[in-house]
């Protein structure tokens, strides 16, 4: 699997994600409605996080909804079902690029230069965090791990 920072056949990458989403919906009886499907497609266009209002603009241009709740509801659906992630640092959303258990969100690498967002499996980091938290009597339910920095490409350019 190529990282989001490397150049790759992106349409294959997006197609694969759409296929995973379609299969997941079928398996779980989720309704991947036109708005939801379209929002996921929009997020999949690039390895970048989009704000809800950016998504909404796109939807509006296509006649799929003009008000914020339309975008927020679709995004919420995608996030709840692991098809997209919310990037807290950016107040924005990105399509899920990997496969992982529910609630087991990966860590994110966010390039401050090109805004590309990549996922990193974070199982070990989450485990370490849970262990340490557990020592303080704290039960971790959801962990957010986000790194801001420079990707290789942008570092090379500078």
């Amino acid at each position: 699997m190529k990282s989001a920072f490397e150049s790759h056949n992106h349409s294959a990458c997006a197609d694969a994600a759409m296929t995973r989403a379609t299969n997941l919906a079928a398996a779980r009886g989720l309704r991947l409605t036109p708005v939801r499907r379209r929002v996921l497609e929009i997020l999949l266009e690039r390895h970048r996080a989009l704000g809800a209002y950016e998504v909404l603009e796109r939807l509006a241009a296509e006649g799929l909804g003009k008000q914020p709740p339309v975008a927020y509801r679709a995004l919420e659906f995608l996030v709840e079902n692991g098809l997209a992630h919310r990037i807290q640092r950016l107040n924005a959303f990105t399509a899920c690029q990997s496969v992982h258990e529910d609630g087991q969100a990966p860590a994110f690498l966010i390039c401050r230069e090109c805004q590309t967002v990549d996922e990193l499996d974070a199982a070990d980091l989450r485990d370490a965090l849970s262990t340490r938290a557990g020592q303080a009597g704290f039960t971790v339910e959801r962990a957010t791990i986000e790194a801001l920095g420079l990707c290789a490409t942008c570092a090379g350019r500078a």
Copy 2:
């Protein structure tokens, strides 16, 4: 050092933090002005994250500023100098409870029940993250590690 979740002599805890802040300001030639000092005191009242507008209400009640930029500027100053932290998940701010290098923010444990926020030293987690990111050619500049869950006290109550 007691965790924020345990009952403790909180005024001593807040005083110690204020003293650290005063010393840091002196050492670095920072200006801990009345507004900045007061904002830090307000954050130190409890181990909870406060939104900028909550801080602003307090300031306004005391005649220290009525407009959002007053609160945001003071908070920005505190965060930049490591005296407070921004909790991304909450869009809120909390006083720093520990001592750490610049930019080396700790991990946060956020109880979803009592809203208490505690810090955990995250040096090892950050290192692990940086190493893993480095394998993908990514240079981590700042890492956000936040865990949402239940503290021992609240878990016991349920």
